[in-house]
Amino acid sequence: MEGTPIIEMKGIVKVYPDGTKALKGVDLTVNKGEILGLLGENGAGKTTLMKILFGMLHPTSGKIFINGEEVRFKSPSDAIAHGIGMVHQHFTLVEVFDALHNIILGMEGHGAFSKIDVDRAREKLQALMDDLNFQVPLDIPVEDLPVGVQQRIEILKMLYRNVDVLILDEPTAVLTPLEVEELFRVLRQLKAEGKTIIFISHKLNEVMELTDRVTVIRKGEVIGTVNTSEATPQLLARMMVGRDVVLRIEKPPKEAGEPILKVENLTVMGDRGETAVKNLSFEVRAGEIFGIAGVEGNGQTELIEAISGLRKVGGGKIYLNGKDITGKTPRELYDLGMAHIPEDRTHMGLILEMTVTENSVLGLHWHPKFQRFRGIINWNKARQHAQALIEQFDISAPGTEAPVKSLSGGNQQKLIVAREVSKEPVFIIAAQPTRGVDVASTEYIRNYLVKLRNEGKAVLLVSADLDEVIQLSDRMGIIYEGEFMGVVKPEEVTTEEIGMMMGGIRYEEIRK
C-alpha cells in the first residue's frame, strides 16, 4: 500500500535535558489519508516523537518534512498552522472552562480586547459536531464531564482548527467499548474526508482493527513498519517487546471459597449529591475475581471509594471476613487485610514528588516492620522493601531515592501493584489496573491478579476495558447508574449482551 507521504521525519534524535536519550534517530513516514498506528512499550518514545512533530518539543537533531517541504516548528501554533493537531495522552483541558471556551481558546477571532463572539463560535461548533454526529455539551465546565466526553472535546478542539493530520496519543485508554466504537466511527469518517491520522495505542486489537499501517518503536528506535493487513497481534507484540508475549491469560478453573467481601444494600452519594450507587448487593469470595464492567461514570468510582473507606456510605453495610467495616478508615481497612490499586494512579496511588522508597511504603508505613519504635519510620527497612519490589516486579527505576515522577507511567503502575500486593491482603481492589500500560506490563499485571486469585485471595476488578473484565473475571457484575443490570459468568454471555446491559437493559429482560 504505497501512498503519498504527507509527513516525513528523518533521523530524529531527542536527548532530554537530564541526559535521557529518548529517540535515537527515528525515521517515520506518514501517508496522506491513512491511519498509521504507532506501537511501542512504555517509554519507547512514541509520545516524545509526536510531541516533536507537534512542535511542543524540539528535536536534538533530525528533520521534518511536510508535503516534502522542510519545516521547523517553534511551538504548537506552527504545527497547527501546518495542519497538524494532537490529542494528548493526558488531557490538556482547562478544567474550569466549558467545552466551548476550551475549543476556541487561542483562536477566538477578532482582536484580543474585543468581546469574544460566543454565539458565532457556538454556531460553527454545532455545525462541526452535527457533521460528525459527535456531540458534547458546550456549557458545562469540563471538569464536571466524564473522560469520554473530555476526549471528544480534545478531538473537536483540533478539528475546529481544521487540521489535516490528527495525532491521537493513547486515546482509547480511558474509553468504554461503546465510546471506542464511536471514536473509531468518527476517525474512519475523518479518514474518508481525507484526513490523516496517527494513532497510538497499547491495545493490539484496536490497532489491528483501525489502522492501515503500523510502525513499531522500541527504546527510541524504529523496529519496523508493517501493513496492518499483513500483521498479527503476535507479530506486533514480538516486534514491540523483542520476545513472544502470552496474549492469553492462563486461568485454571477454580472453585471459589467463602465470601470475603460482602456488600449489602449499599447506597453511596456522588460529589454532586446524586445517588451514585443504589442499593447494591454482591459478594466477592476467596479465590475469585469478581469483575465490574460498565461505562465509566456509573458509580464505579463511588463504589470503590465506599468500600475502601474513602467515601461516606449513604446506607447499607459492608463486611470483610464477616466483620462490619462500614465507615472504617483506610488505615483500619489495611489492618483488616484490604489492598487497593486505585484507578487514578497519579493523583491517588502515588505521590509523584516523593521517592520510590517513600511511595513503596505509602499506606503500609505503619506496619511494625517499617517502624523503629512506634511512630518512627525505619527508612533503611523501607528502602530494602522498595529494592525488593523493584527486583521482584522488574520495575525500571533510576533508583530507590529517585522521585516517582521520573518513572514511566507503566512502571508507576507496576510500583502500585507491587506495593499493594506486598500488603499481603485477603481482599484486593484492582481498579483500571492496566490502563495506559504496555502489553508486557499488562500481561504481567493480569497474570499477577490471577495468581492472587489462585492463592485464594478475593479480587474485585473494576475496569473500563471490557476485554480485561471478561478475560479475568470468574463472575462479573454489569453496572448501570449505580445498579447491577446483571451478575453473570463471562462465559455464559455474549459481548453483545454485556453491551446491552452496559446500556441499561437488565439481564432478565434480555433473556426473555
Binding site: 483506610p330 514528588e353 533508583g399
Partner: protein, 350 residues
Amino acid sequence: MKRSGSDLLGTINVKPFIESLIAILVGFIIGAIVLIAFGYNPFEAYYWLFVGALGSTRGIASTLKYATPIMLTALTFAIGTRTGIFNIGAEGSFYFGAIAAVIFTNVWANMWFGLAMGMLLGALWALPAATLKVYRGVHEVISTIMLNWIGWFFVLWLIVGPYANPSDPNKTIRIPEAARLPEIGYGLSIAIIIAVIAAILTYFLLWHTTMGFGMRASGINQKAARYAGMNPKMAVMWSFLIGGLLSGLGGAMKIMGEGPTYAISQGGANIYGFGFDGIGVALVGRNHPLGIILSALFFGMLRAGTALMQAEAQVPLEIIKVIQGIIVITVAIPGLYDLVKKALHRGAAA
C-alpha cells in the same frame, strides 16, 4: 544512584545548599557594586561586617543570639510549606509566646513552665487559622495576615494595660530571675541550643516519623494521603499547631533568654518583625530544618556584623538591607549551581 548508610544522607540533598551559597556570593557581589556606586569601599565594608560577626567571641555570641528567634519562625514557615500551607502566622504566634512568658513566669517562676506556656499560647494562636482552613476552607493567607494584626493589637493592649511594669512603664513586668534562661556567656543564653534542637527535632519529625510522613504527604497530595490512610485534615492542623508552637517558643525565649531587659518593651518593639524575617530565612534555607539552621546563622551574622560595619566603614544600615534583599532575590534563581558549573567548565575548557 544507589544509596547506603545513614538515613540522614538519604534525605538530604546538598545541591540546594550549594545553590544558596552561590546566591549569597552573588548577593555580596551585587551588594559590592551598590556600595561602590554610593562611594563606599566594599572590601572595607565586608571586612568589618565579618569581623563584627565572627571576629571575636562576643561577635560570635551576638551572631548566635540574632539567629535564635528567626530560626524558630523560619521553622514555622518551613513546616507550613512542607505540608502545603502558606503559613505566615509565625509573627502572631511569636507575640503570644512572648506575652505568655511574661504572664506565666510571673505566676510561677519556672523556666520550663514559661517555655511550655509560650509554646502553648503560640500554638493556640495558630488554632483559629488551622480550624478555619480545615472546616471552612478559609485560605491561610487571609486568616494569618488578619490574625497577625489582631494579635498584635491584643498584645499591645496587654502590655500597656494589665501587664505594664508599674515601676518602669516603658516595658512589661520582667521575667523573674529564677525563670530566665541560663546564660552561656557574652549575653548569649541557652536559647540558641534549644532552637537548634528544635530544628533538628523538626527535621526528625518531618522525615523520620509516621506523623511527619503523613504531614508531608498531605502537603503534596491530599488525595493520595487520604488513600494511604493518613488524615490530611489533621496534618494541616498539626502543621499550624507545631508551627505556632515553635514560634511561640521563639517568642518566649526572646524575652526569657535575652537581657538586659527580660521584658517586652512598650509598643512591642522587641517582639516585632521576627515572623516576617523568618520567611526569608526559611527560603534561603530551602525550607529544610537543617538548611534553616545555617541560613539563620547567616542572617544572624549579617545583623551582628552591621554594628561594626556602620561604626568603622560608616556604611549605613539601609545598604545592608539592600544586600539582604539582593541575596534573597538571587536565591530564587533556580539551577544556579548548574549555571555556575557550566560556566566554570566553559572557563576551564577555554
